[in-house]
Amino acid sequence: MEEWIIDILISLAKTLAFFGVILLWAAYITLGERRFASFFQNRLGPNRAGIFGLLQPLADGIKFMMKEEIIPKNANRAFYLLGPTLFITIALIPWAAIPFGDTVVIAGREVKLQIVDLNVGILFMIAVSSIGVYGIMIGGWASNNKYSLLGAIRSSAQLISYEITMGIALAAVFLLSGSLSTRDIIIAQMQSPWHWNVFVQPLGFIVFFVSILAETNRVPFDLAEAESELIVGYHTEYGAFKFAMYMLSEYINLITASALITLLYFGGWGIPFVDLGRLGLSVNLAGLISVIVFLVKTGFFVFVFIWIRWTLPRFRYDQLMNLGWKILLPLALVNLFGTAVVALLV
């Protein structure tokens, strides 16, 4: 077989596998979230469809597809439909640059477990995810509902403010690793757990964590869909599968956020005190283990997000802005400055 055909096949297979895994995972997080929330709240949660309710996401998906498609009369039809479509597309794109694991060998060639190893990977992801706000704004505006509009306005202000802090917190990480590629950032943390950025950059991590929590639009930052004030905010008028698309993309964003935390601050697929390369395992087995480690770490942070959501109350709009601009931004700047000075001197 010709070389380029194999290359294309491998790329295609990776892409399909990635998106399959992500979509499936996002669907199961809906179940996970409901189950964990139930345990926090002293109840059982959905446990009727299949064993432990494992078929619940499937049932939900079918339900969403079978529901009647309703488009409000005064909505701007084109934009109304564009909103969720755009949102889910943009939610999926960052996964092109996120590595799931180390390398494996397929058909005699080394394959990175990553769709594409961009040398500006992180920048690319941040750039793409900031377009995500358009999905919310268009959806909120086009449904011609005051609550949706309020939600969209809140959301855009929130996402834009917190992106700045997030970017500055990340700049300190870039300074240390000397690269913008996701893979290089992970490899820079590989030596020992003490090289994980969470220990090197504790302040930066806190700022980044809070910002990314705000980016995912979840409690305590879920002002865009604050159900007690704005019904459900920007997707109030959305039903059936259009709602499912919004919901699914929020969960995809959640996984993206967890994956980012893992690869930027918790050493990616590195196992503490274990060097996979020196164990004498075959390359493919080591690659598989690295994937599992990465998924477990990411899954843990998904759980942390769920945990936070079902514990904390929600900020008010002005408090959110104060936190972003008056507390987190100065902290991020201090962190960046300190890191720069240390990096220059050491």
Partner: protein, 421 residues
């Protein structure tokens, strides 16, 4: 249509005129858009309005410029029904006022009627009533405080405490067969005796609940976000609160220690030992804390009474006022006549006017009864505490943000059934 206010030249009508408010709501929004305001309807069907309330708000961005509460969506004309129902039948209406703690309303009404007639109720009935009254207060405060959490985005507390509120609801179910509309009081005592394990069940609740409440406090009281969201929000000072007719926890949160249970003791409140918690600035946070502490005080009252429920009749044995035992009705002539008299002609309440108040979970629930000696009251007026709080809602929220309005509404504990009567 003329505006009802227009001929009232003497001064501003202190109560909001529902009709003209509605007309104003329906006016074209164009002038608002010119001013950069947006008019939104918080309700009648909105997640934050527990029950059916409507708030028409003019927003400047997120800031509330003007708020107008519109009431009457669940008006069931209880006061008019009161003119048709006998004194015992009206219990069914009181059940449906504050449906979160319905036994308290029953007890308040029955207490008013008994005071008017001047019956001496057996102490067994009084003790049971006091216990149920205080447990209902706990169950009401559970809902109010946890729902405040829900309105601020912390959903867990509600379901967490609700699980234990079920213990109380189960006690009611065992006792009366009903969980919500209990109606277990009658003029002169209780409808039937308490069941055997009543004291044990209540003690179980008293044993479990403080621990759970501590957990719940841990979730919110020291939470920085919660404090930021509630401290100083929707604050009202003592004088303003009194001028609006505040009572209950909302008044006590402002620092005024008025409590009907202490000021005009009824049931057994003059024989038990409890404190009245008061707040400082009447903000959402203080209301939360006052309610929280009242739960502990209620538990204190119940634990003083639960060990010595006196034996004896659970209903007054004067058959002018309470039904004679069924067995006697079947076997004895005189009892049969009493039974017939009560069922057909009702209880004889002396003619006159009477006002009696009780401290229900929300404040002072007062019943103003005018009797002409017939089997039904000539007129019943109910002083429903929510109705008085809710007038102050615009003053509390104007100038604050949309999210605060939700918190304030929640912490005032406006219950639509009680508000509209």
């Amino acid at each position: 249509m003329t505006n009802k206010n227009s001929d009232n030249s003497a001064g501003k009508n202190p109560l909001p005129d529902t009709y003209s408010t509605r007309q104003e709501v329906l006016k074209n929004e164009a002038e608002h858009l010119e001013n950069g305001l947006m008019r939104i309807n918080l309700g009648p069907s909105h997640p934050a309005t527990h029950g059916i309330l409507q708030n028409v708000m003019d927003l400047d961005g997120e800031t509330i410029v003007k708020a107008r509460p519109v009431i009457g969506y669940v008006h069931r004309s209880f006061e008019k029904l009161g003119e048709k129902y006998t004194y015992n039948q009206f219990l069914n209406c009181t059940d449906r006022m504050n449906y979160v703690s319905s036994p308290m309303n029953n007890i308040a009404w029955i207490n008013a009627v008994e005071e008017m007639i001047g019956i001496n109720v057996p102490s067994r009935a009084q003790v049971v009533r006091t216990i149920i009254n205080e447990l209902s207060r706990i169950s009401d405060h559970i809902i109010c405080n946890t729902v405040l959490g829900v309105d601020l985005g912390a959903f867990t507390g509600l379901l967490y405490l609700y699980h234990y509120r079920e213990m109380f609801t189960n006690i009611l179910e065992k006792m009366t067969g009903a969980r919500l509309t209990t109606t277990f009081n009658r003029v002169g005592g209780l409808e039937m005796d308490i069941y055997d394990g009543f004291a044990a069940d209540v003690k179980d609740f008293l044993k479990v609940f403080p621990k759970i409440l501590k957990d719940f406090e841990g979730l919110l009281i020291h939470n920085r976000i919660f404090i930021d969201r509630t401290k100083g929000v929707g604050a009202i000072d003592k004088e303003t609160a009194l001028s609006y007719g505040y009572t209950g926890p909302n008044l006590r949160a402002t620092g005024c220690d008025y409590d009907v249970r202490k000021a005009y003791p009824y049931l057994l409140y003059d024989q038990v030992d409890f404190d009245i918690p008061v707040g400082i600035d009447g903000s959402v946070y203080d209301r939360f804390l006052v309610r929280n502490e009242e739960m502990y005080q209620s538990m204190k009252i119940v634990s003083q009474l639960i060990d010595n429920i006196p034996a004896g009749p659970y209903r007054v044995e004067d058959y002018h006022y309470s039904l004679p035992p069924k067995k006697d009705v079947y076997e004895k002539m005189e009892e049969l006549i009493y039974h017939f008299k009560i069922v057909m002609h009702g209880i004889q309440v002396p003619p006159g006017e009477f006002y009696s108040a009780a401290e229900i979970a929300n404040g002072e629930m007062g019943f103003y009864i005018v009797s002409d000696g017939g089997k039904t009251p000539y007129r019943v007026h109910v002083r429903r505490p929510c109705f008085w709080y809710y007038q102050s809602f615009p003053e509390l929220v104007e100038g604050s943000m949309l999210a605060d309005a939700v918190a304030v509404m929640s912490s005032l504990n406006v219950i639509a059934g009680e508000l509209d009567g």
